[in-house]
Symmetry: C2
Subunit: 456 residues, 2 copies
């Protein structure tokens, strides 16, 4: 522990400086205009892995953005940890709400503000620096492999093929990921489940062109109105989702499991205050913790149609669109849910409009075992580092590839995240506490240590 703290202390400034360099790359995978920046980011990550002590570093091309691979094999009889992360980030929109530019990392009150600060550059880079620490202090107790991809925010389309084609190379005993949150730094926790995802885009087409709302209004179906009606119908009055078959197969928790979940520290008043809302919302019969952890949901991520500029335009728009995504829980298959959504959405469209539904991407829900060596090692590492036992929680987010690793590589994942829900992931002013960044770098070597020891 002492050796870890000393190394971090000596290299504080450089560790932060390197992260800032990484955050300056505008690696937005969703929007093709950032393509060059995404590619440069992959090269940067490869360089840093190399400098930190990895061998066989390679920027592996895919049909989309490349996957950065690197490894250090010290002894083939020792256990191997596969670290996964992603160097791509969410779009910075709405950009005008950022207090400082999203790609110019800025320190304020001990927090790093930048797109990707927490999700996931700040978090995966802790592993690169913890790895450097173990190499330079001669404390690396196991083999380590890195796989850092550039398409996580757009559905990891090409990762599956890569994993399938590189099973030997990726062989490991556990996947370690830091891309999730803790309850707080005072209440450390480990996520034991992730929701799946089915991301759809819909288009409702009315007349062939925008019309004058006076000349045609009232007689021609307005696709914006119809889209609203269709979206409204997707929840009933109890906020249950109305898509037929949507809940089929959902694995419900036992009363005991629900109770234990609801025992996690949670202050509803604080939650509402932080978000500046007067009331929470959600499926009848479930608590806020359950609504975000163990229940599937359906959210409108974006909606647009007609005139959205300043002032007034009396138009009956030709079409209206929405991006709608569903978070899924164990027992739901994202391909089936995407299909159910598509069929249902098409079926509820009135004859006066035409509807197009496309599936963007999806991901399978996942629950990690809490009785594995890896989970126990993570538990002990956090307990040592934070001086407090971590609470197991169920995360609301999705890392679609976790299920893939199990399928293809036959190994489990540990979600050792150091973010906070308040880090504004996917939002303007995303941040990551400098404290969490260093705390992560200190905790990770302990994980490797305990994992190697317990694996003996």
């Amino acid at each position: 522990m002492q050796i870890i703290k000393e190394y971090v202390e000596e290299n504080r400034q450089r560790f932060l400086h390197e992260l800032f360099e990484l955050l300056r790359f505008q690696s937005v995978s969703a929007d093709p205009k950032y393509k060059d920046e995404v590619l440069k980011t992959a090269d940067f990550v490869a360089d840093k892995l190399k400098n930190s002590g990895a061998n066989h570093v390679e920027v592996c091309p895919t049909e989309g953005y490349p996957i950065v691979y690197g490894e250090k094999i010290i002894d083939s009889s020792l256990p191997t940890v596969l670290v996964y992360g992603h160097y791509d980030v969410q779009p910075p929109d709405p950009i005008e709400l950022w207090e400082t530019p999203p790609f110019e990392p800025t320190l304020r009150d001990g927090k790093i503000y930048a797109r990707g600060a927490c999700d996931d550059k700040g978090q995966f880079y802790m592993h690169v620096k913890a790895f450097e620490l173990m190499v330079h202090t001669n404390t690396l107790p196991c083999n380590i492999k890195f796989m850092i991809e550039g398409e996580e925010e757009v559905g990891s389309d090409n990762l599956g093929k890569f994993v399938a084609q590189n099973k030997e190379r990726l062989k490991a005993d556990v996947v370690l990921i830091s891309d999730t949150s803790m309850i707080s730094m005072e209440n450390p926790s480990i996520e034991t489940g992730l929701r799946g995802l089915a991301y759809m885009e819909v288009e409702v087409q009315g007349p062939i062109k925008d019309l004058h709302s006076g000349v045609y209004g009232g007689a021609v179906a307005n696709p914006a109105t119809i889209l609203c009606q269709m979206i409204a119908s997707l929840h009933d009055e109890h906020n249950h989702i109305t898509i037929p078959g949507f809940y089929d197969g959902v694995i419900n928790l036992s009363e005991e499991e629900r109770k234990s979940l609801n025992d996690a520290p949670f202050d509803l008043e604080e939650y509402k205050k932080e978000l500046s809302i007067d009331d929470v919302w959600g499926e009848a019969g479930y608590s806020t913790i359950e609504r975000t952890g163990i229940r599937p949901t359906l959210e409108v991520n974006g909606i647009w149609g007609g005139y959205t500029g300043p002032g007034a335009k009396t138009v009956l728009p030709a079409k209206a669109n929405a991006k709608i995504s569903m978070r899924l829980v164990p027992g739901q298959d994202w391909r089936k849910i995407s299909e159910l959504f598509k069929n249902h959405f098409e079926s509820i469209a009135p004859k006066s409009v035409k509807v197009k539904v496309i599936a963007h991407h999806g991901g399978t829900p996942y629950v990690t075992p809490t009785n594995s060596i890896a989970f126990k090692a993570a538990y002990k590492a956090i307990k040592d580092s934070f001086g407090k036992e971590p609470v197991p929680t169920r995360g609301g987010g999705s890392i679609p590839i976790v299920a893939l690793f199990e399928e293809e590589l036959g190994i489990k994942t540990v979600l050792m995240g150091f973010g906070l829900d308040s880090d504004s992931l996917h939002s303007p002013n995303e941040k990551y506490d400098v404290f969490n960044y260093y705390k992560g770098i200190e905790t990770i070597p302990l994980f490797h240590k305990y994992f190697a020891e317990m694996s003996k």
Copy 2:
């Protein structure tokens, strides 16, 4: 008639050239970035009025865009016609759907394509050129006054004050406006009514910032979903509007009036084909002609919220907005309707969101008399010019100031429009037939002739 045709023939090219000059000005009143262009347009219109023979031409400042005034008083004992028009235009959005640039007028198949080609530059400019014709051929049979404003597309906010302050100057026997449509060139018609308008903008605010839809989805009200639910609730299953009190006072037509209205030539299959829709839509119990003519409506003119860029962003947006306008019929007061909308919309908002409602502008519905000298003069002029008796129709659009003229100046309006519903007003690829433009210039002098004769 011969003298008119000859003058138009001799000046064909120049008349078109001048209209093209006018159409090149980007006089979008809704968007402040076009301010200089709007102001230049006013100066251009003033110049043209002067050159065409008007006296006392003045660009009259208002708190918004100026009103261009000009007149020619030949004998105070003769009747006076007040011509109203507007030199401002709708925004060109969505600009990418224009086949040729909106502010570079282009001739294709005998049609002028440009923003404002029909609404209202092409139509009011016919009056300027018909006026020139009458002055140059010494056939002006009455006094004429022009009032061309620059804020019609944003609610004519400053016209009321101008009219109230210039009652003496604007004294006239009739207001003549070409800013409406005919059924077709083969079926000439005169609109005898206009719908009123109440244009609202709403904002639904959920959490204080955009959130990660995985971390918060299902537990925090999504303002886009809520906005959809609120908008959906504004129509019932018969497409009646649900705002309490909305229909109070609506003057219903007699069965006879409805029958006569439905006797106008109308081909439903042609209508659907032209718009490329499989079915029409609207209030149960009314025909398409009635739905756009004599019934009030509520339309979403624009809606936006969340991520609308390419690809996927799993965000729970902080807010969602919509522009919603209502067309009103005689018996409805737009100020009262705006108030009813605001109260209702605020009342249906769940506690989990905050709602803001603002009223953009409004206009009073209007029905013109068909037994006036002015209407008879218009009827005869069109009959002469088109060789066919025009059909009286009820227009779905709104020219809010028509009611104002009656209130402030005590005079009626004649709506002698030469547009077509298919002219794509407020839409991409707005057009105006060259045929209609010249036909209008030929018909207008006949109106003045008959109006002066019948007034004796």
